[in-house]
Structures are given as C-alpha cells and as structure tokens.
C-alpha cells in the first residue's frame, strides 16, 4: 500500500493522521493519504511568494517546454508517488477504483490533460490575446502594436479546492505554472491521483519543487486554502457557488446546467441532431459540468425525449475495466440514494414524466457502490422544478418551451449549444449574460475548444490590467 504524504512546497510531510483510499468495487485499500491540519496550511503560506519568485527566474518559454515534457511524462512514464512509484496503467486503475469512473474514461481524461499541456503555448497565446508572455513576467511592457501595457499578478499562488467526482477539471489549473504562479492544491478525497502525479511530472520536467504544495484533508483544509490564497478556484454545488458569488478572491465552479436549444427553424428535423443530443448527455457518464442536462424546444419534445431514452435508457452498469462501460459508479455511500430520492420527489409534480421508466430501475445497488442508470425526463413546461435539475450521471430533461421564452427561462448555463439559424434568436443568445460558453449550430456541449476561456479567463482572474507609466529606466 502506497503512503502518500502532504507536499509542503515539494517537501514530503507524512502526517500523524491518514485517510485510507479504498477501491470502490473490491474494498482493497490502495493508499494511505496523510491528512494535514489547517494551521499548517496557513503557516506554509509564508512561502507563497517564494513559489512565484522561483518560477519567475525561469523564462515562460522554458516553462512551456517543461510542461509539455511534463504532459508526456504524466501520460507515459513511471513516476514517483509517495513512497512508491506509479505507471500510467496503475494511475488509470487507481483513479477508476476510487472515483468510480470506468477505466477507459480515466484514460481519455489522461490524454486530454496531456493534450492541454502539449498545446499550452497556443492556449496561453489565445487566452492572453497574443500578448508577449514576458510582459506577465515583468508586469509591464509594450504590445506589438506599440501600446504600453501592464498586467499585475494578483497572487503569488493559486489555491485549488478540487472535486473527487470529475477528474476532467484538472485541465483548468494546468496553465498556472507556465504563468509563473505557484499552485496550492487541496485534492478531492477520492481523487488524490491527478494532483500528485501531475506534480511529480512537473518536478521531473524541471519545475522547481517550491512552486507546488499539496494539502489533502477535510473541509477545513479547503477553507484554509481559500483563506490563505489571494486567488482560489473551488468546485462544489450550487450552494458553494452562491456562497462565493461576488468574492473577487474566489472563482467558484458549480453545476454547469449546460443545455441544447432547438430553434423553431430546426426543431422539425430534430432526428438529425439525435447523436449530438445523446453524446452531450451520456459521454463521460454525464459527470462533467459541460454535459448537457437540458434539451429545450417548442415542439416534438415528448418524441425527442422518447428517442433519447430509447438510445441511453437501456444502458446497464458494467465492470470498470470493460471498455464498453458507460456508467460511473457512485462511490460515496448514500449519494446515489439521495439523488434518486430527489428525482422521485420532483417526478410527483404534474407535467413531469420519466421517459426511461420502462427501461428498468434507475438505482442499482452493489455491495460497495451504487449506480444510477440514464434517466430522461419530459417536462411540459419550463416552470416545473424538474426543469432546473442537474445530476452527476447521464440525466437530462427535455423541456417544452416557446422559443421566445427560452433565453429568459433557461437560467444559468455553462455551455449552450443553440441549433438555429434564426438571426433574432441568435442575437438574444449572444447578448444573454447568463450563458457562458455559446455554441451556435449543431455542436455537442461537450466539445470544447481549448483556445477559448472557460467560466472566465484564468488570465484575467490572476492578472489585473492597469496603467503603468515611467520616465527613465525601470530596473525591476
């Protein structure tokens, strides 16, 4: 069994308290992860500035090469992990074993992270709109078109309170190191694997150890990270997002409520878009915030729901190592029961119909984990409570709503794929501030262009554009 210590700016620190990370299917203890205390995290932040200082000593161009190499190491090499080592296949098995994601999905997420690291130069170029990256290092400079600019780093480190259920989110913090900002990571209890493996790959690729700290622990550690870091990202539910709304120090990522909208000009050909709709709901076991949880149209909604249900409704849980396995297990006790109960309660409202009911029981209970089978619900109005639901499994509502009410009624939407050529409808969507990523045309919600910002630009979050004038030399 691997012992995984706390990483205090790269220095291993085995704690007095440890949490066992257990295989959801076999009960095997895969690792013991040290659990840190909150005051230690806060005290370590004395060295936060050092993290940025050591990174600033390395040109961003060199850091980009390092993270590219780190991506390859992460995907292909046997890397140190705690008091042992870990091959890529062991990583896949361990991540699957604790998060419940089928192994082929873990492998896919690994490739995704590698892709992002390998293309980091292009990603940063697009996120900074072609800025000379040395300006981020210096804090000031002259743009190519001759305009003086200044970008002031708002925090020497970025705190990350990471989730357990969606290993895909790690792509969000991969651009941080090349921007010469340190990382303070609090892993999700079931997913310590990616932060540790990525840190190991970064170190092997030449990133200074003092640039990364990893603090596993309970909820108080998440709070300590948020309290100590001037800029942090946190992942949680709607309540978490509400709690940090308007807090400039925290960017909260919650449920996506991503949707597909079928315009009146296209809805009569809905069958053409069935693959896009099913993929958006089902791929990655519906766990991501970019998975579609609502399909909205003004007509044919019952038929659309029926067709999606016919496609994904019969899917059964399969062992995690089966390449055809499409459903992730719920490894946290009682979580699946809670979700199932919530759905059943919402189904009692008039105008709501479970279109997947005929394909068998939704909740499948196993000895050490549970599954929720794909669920498609028809809502005959956007005003029923069910129309606002989202869960971390293949679940979607198909909502009947007049097109001219959609923008108003859809609510916060991370990814909106609008299948329409209607100029007025398109304009309304472009202007809607509650839509984050907007796709116009038949595109699955899960198809991301990595060169585009996600829930706000991470560059804008970490660097503030400001005026900077000087007469005479600036030597800093």
């Amino acid at each position: 069994m691997i012992q995984i210590p706390v990483l205090r700016w790269g220095e291993p620190y085995p704690s007095q308290e440890k949490d066992k990370v257990v295989h959801f299917d076999t009960g095997e203890v895969l690792a013991e992860v040290s659990r840190v205390n909150a005051a230690l995290v806060e005290r370590d932040m004395r060295f936060a500035q050092r993290a940025r200082d050591v990174l600033r000593e390395i040109p961003i161009a060199d850091l980009l090469q390092m993270v590219k190499k780190a991506g390859e190491l992460y995907a292909k090499a046997e890397l140190p992990l705690g008091d042992g080592t870990q091959t890529p296949e062991q990583f896949v098995r361990m991540q699957s074993a604790t998060t419940g994601l089928p192994e082929h999905m873990c492998r896919f997420n690994m490739e995704k992270n590698n892709f992002v690291l390998g293309n980091m130069d292009k990603i940063l170029d697009s996120l900074t709109r072609g800025l000379d990256l040395n300006i981020l290092t210096r804090g000031y400079g002259i743009e190519a078109r001759g305009v003086p600019v200044s970008y002031q780093c708002q925090s020497p480190v970025l705190g990350m309170v990471l989730p357990s259920n969606s290993p895909g989110v790690h792509t969000l913090w991969l651009p941080i190191i090349p921007m010469q900002v340190g990382l303070v990571l609090k892993p999700g209890p079931q997913e310590p694997w990616t932060p540790y493996r990525m840190a190991s790959a970064f170190y092997q690729a030449g990133v200074p150890k003092q640039a990364i700290a990893i603090y596993p622990g309970l909820g108080d550690i998440g709070a300590a990270v948020l309290n100590s870091c001037p800029r942090s990202l946190i992942f949680g539910g709607t309540a978490t997002v509400e709690q940090y709304k308007g807090n400039p120090r925290v960017q909260a990522h919650g449920p996506g409520f991503s949707k597909i909208l079928l315009g009146d000009d296209k809805v009569d050909q809905w069958e053409k878009y069935l693959d896009i709709m099913c993929d958006s709901v089902y791929v990655n076991s519906g766990r991501g915030c970019i998975n579609c949880s609502g399909i909205w149209a003004s007509r044919h909604t019952e038929k659309i729901a029926e067709a999606i249900a016919a496609r994904i409704g019969p899917v059964q849980p399969l062992p995690p190592e089966d390449p055809k396995s499409g459903l992730a297990a719920f490894t946290v006790p009682n979580q699946a029961d809670g979700v199932n109960n919530d759905i059943e309660a919402a189904l009692k409202e008039a105008g709501v119909k479970d279109m997947t009911a005929k394909y068998g029981t939704r909740l499948v209970k196993k000895e050490r984990c549970d599954y929720l089978r794909p669920t498609v619900i028809h809502c005959d109005s956007p005003d029923v409570a069910m129309a606002k639901k989202e869960y971390m499994f293949p679940f979607c509502t198909v909502v009947k709503c007049p097109q001219d009410k959609m923008v108003e009624k859809i609510g916060p939407t991370l990814v909106c794929s609008a299948i329409t050529d209607d100029k007025k409808f398109q304009r309304g969507l472009i202007e809607a501030t509650h839509i984050d990523r907007l796709n116009i045309g038949p595109m699955p919600t899960i198809k991301l262009n990595w060169l585009q910002p996600h829930e706000g630009s991470i560059v804008d979050f970490l660097f503030r554009a400001r005026a900077f004038q000087h007469e005479g030399p600036v030597n800093a």
Partner: protein, 386 residues
Amino acid sequence: MNLSLLLGAIVKDTPGKPAPVTGSTLDEKIKNAKTQLDAQVREVVKWHFSPATGTPFWLEKAKTFDFNPLSDVNGWADIAKFPMFEDDWLRGGPVTRWVPKGYAGRGVYVFETGGTTGIPKSRIVIDDFKIDYEMFSDTLPEKFFPKNSNWLMLGPSGPRRLRLAVEHLAQYRGGISFCIDLDPRWVVKLIKKGWTEHLKAYQEHCIDQAMTILSAGHDVRCMFTTPKLLDALCKRLEQEGSSISKAGITGIFCGGTEMTSQWIRFMIEEYLGPEVYIAPTYGNTLMGLAASEMPTAAQNYKIAYYAPQPRAVAQVVNFKDYNELVPVGQTGRVLLTTLTKEFFVPRFAERDEGEREPPSEKYPWDGVSGVRPFHEIAAQTTVGVY
C-alpha cells in the same frame, strides 16, 4: 513587605476534593482506585436518591426504575443498572430540579453548553468546578506552570464553566487570570451563515484582546486556550516577530474541539518548541476535566486522556452495545459517568469516539485516546466553534 502579598496567596483545597490514589505497584494502585470508585458510587447514589438529601429530578426518575438505587447500587458495576442519560433532560427549567435537597441554601451557578438555537442544556454547580480544576491543577508540572504566576484565559466567556474554572485554577495556584470576551454562539452563527470574513474578523478581535493583555505588563506565564485560538495567537505573534515563548508563556492548558495528534505535533514542532509545555484536556460542562500527559514524538504524539476518577469515569464501549467495553487499543464510543454530590450523570454517550487506553502509574484506570467526533454524527456537527 510580606512576600505572600507580592506572590499571591495559594488557595486552600475545596472540601470534597478526593485524596490521590496510593499504592506501591501499578496493580495495587488499580485495585485501590477501584475501591475508591466503588465507595464514591455508593456515597453519590445514596445522596441523590435519599428523600432527605436527594435531587428532585432523580427522586422523580427513580419511580420509573425497576430497581431501588438505595439498596441495589453497591459499587461501580451497578451503574449499568441505570438507563442511559439523555442530555435533553438538561434543557429548560426549573433548573432547581437538579439541586440536591442536601444543598438547600447554598449559592448555585448555572453553566450552559452550546445553545445556538433553542434552549441550551444547563447544569447546576456549587463547588464542582473548583474541585475539578484543583484536581487538574495537581497534574500540571510546576516547572512550566509556576505557582503564583498569572494566566491568560483565551477562551469562551459568558455562561460557561471555563470562564470561572480557569479563573479559579489561576487563583488556586496563587495567580490572577486575565480574560477576554468571546461569544461562541455568535461564532457558530457566523459559520452556519458562511460569513467567513466576519468569522475571521471576530477571531482577530479575540486575538487583539489577547495581544493587549500580553503587552500590558501583567507577567502572564500560563494560559488556557483552544486549538484554533492558539493557532491564531501563534500566527499573530510570529507576524510581529515574537512567539509564545518570547511572550513569556511557558505552560498552555488547551482544550476544545479539533485536538488531534497531528495538530499537537504541528504546534510543538513549529510554534512552541521545547521551552513550552502544552497540556491537552478533554471534557465538557457535564463532567470534570480529563487530563493527558504532554504528547511526545517518542509516543507518536498520542493524546491519551484520563477522567478525574472517582468523580468521573470515561469508558470506551462497543458502538452496538454500550454495556460492553471494547478491548484495550480498540475503538468505541466514549461513555461518560459523572459522580459528584452536586451532579449525577450515569452513562452519557458522548458525541465522540476513540481508542481504549490501559491504566498508567499516574492514572491507574482506563483512559481514551484518539478522541474524534463519533462517526455516525460527525457530519451533522458544527465543530471548531472557537
């Protein structure tokens, strides 16, 4: 000038303080401790259930028992005959139902627990807090908690035992206690509302008060505090180029939630160093104070608490059967029994679990280590109040 005026007078023992257990071997001490506990059970049960001296609550409750406490309780083993104590019995009035008739006419304090919403639980006290803290005082090493030195009470104020008890502890040892204002009920509200900025500000407000006391020339050498507040005080002192040791404090009595081996190791290794002694304690308003030796690296920073027998007993029992002690070293729920003439609490299931510890030379009875929130209710509890 009379030296005692300068140093302060050592307060005499409060009547009722038990004599220390004697014995030349551990086995003999264990045997004598059992004898002392059996005698305490007989005396206390007789007191609370006799018509002349009894406690109205227990006299009434006894009518529902299928045994007679006066004739059927002859020692510790018979405590198992009592039903589990329900702390909800302590909510609301009249609080006088808890005052034994034998103490009619005595001044009574009321100490409350929790109480963020609804009616708090309360218990009556006459001298118990004094006796409990005098017994605890006897466990403190003189080198680090010098007699006649002054104390900082950096903990909750208001209707809590700690405020008066720490003050009595300081006075008993010949010193004076300097206190701060801290309302833990407001802190719980801040946590529940998610007002983290306010929470931080309130903590800063408490630390400001402590820093003022420490800077005011009161020659403070000892203190009571909680883990969170000690974290915050150490951090502030460090930011100001000082430390606990540089501030003159040599002994810390620390109690409250979130006392873990990791925390104590962190505190010793990174803030306190070898010149400061920290005495972890476990207890609540219902019982006395369970003490612990200072945890050490050699013992892997294990914190083993021992209740102040014979006035209170801490057992570690099977999660499924509270009548069954778990074997030494095994995990179970903490079951407390308080046995004083002021307050009788048989078999109260604490909201904690831990491992059963064997008797030691200093404490020749069972102890409990690794105390943490009981796993079945941990998720529902707001911890880290102050």
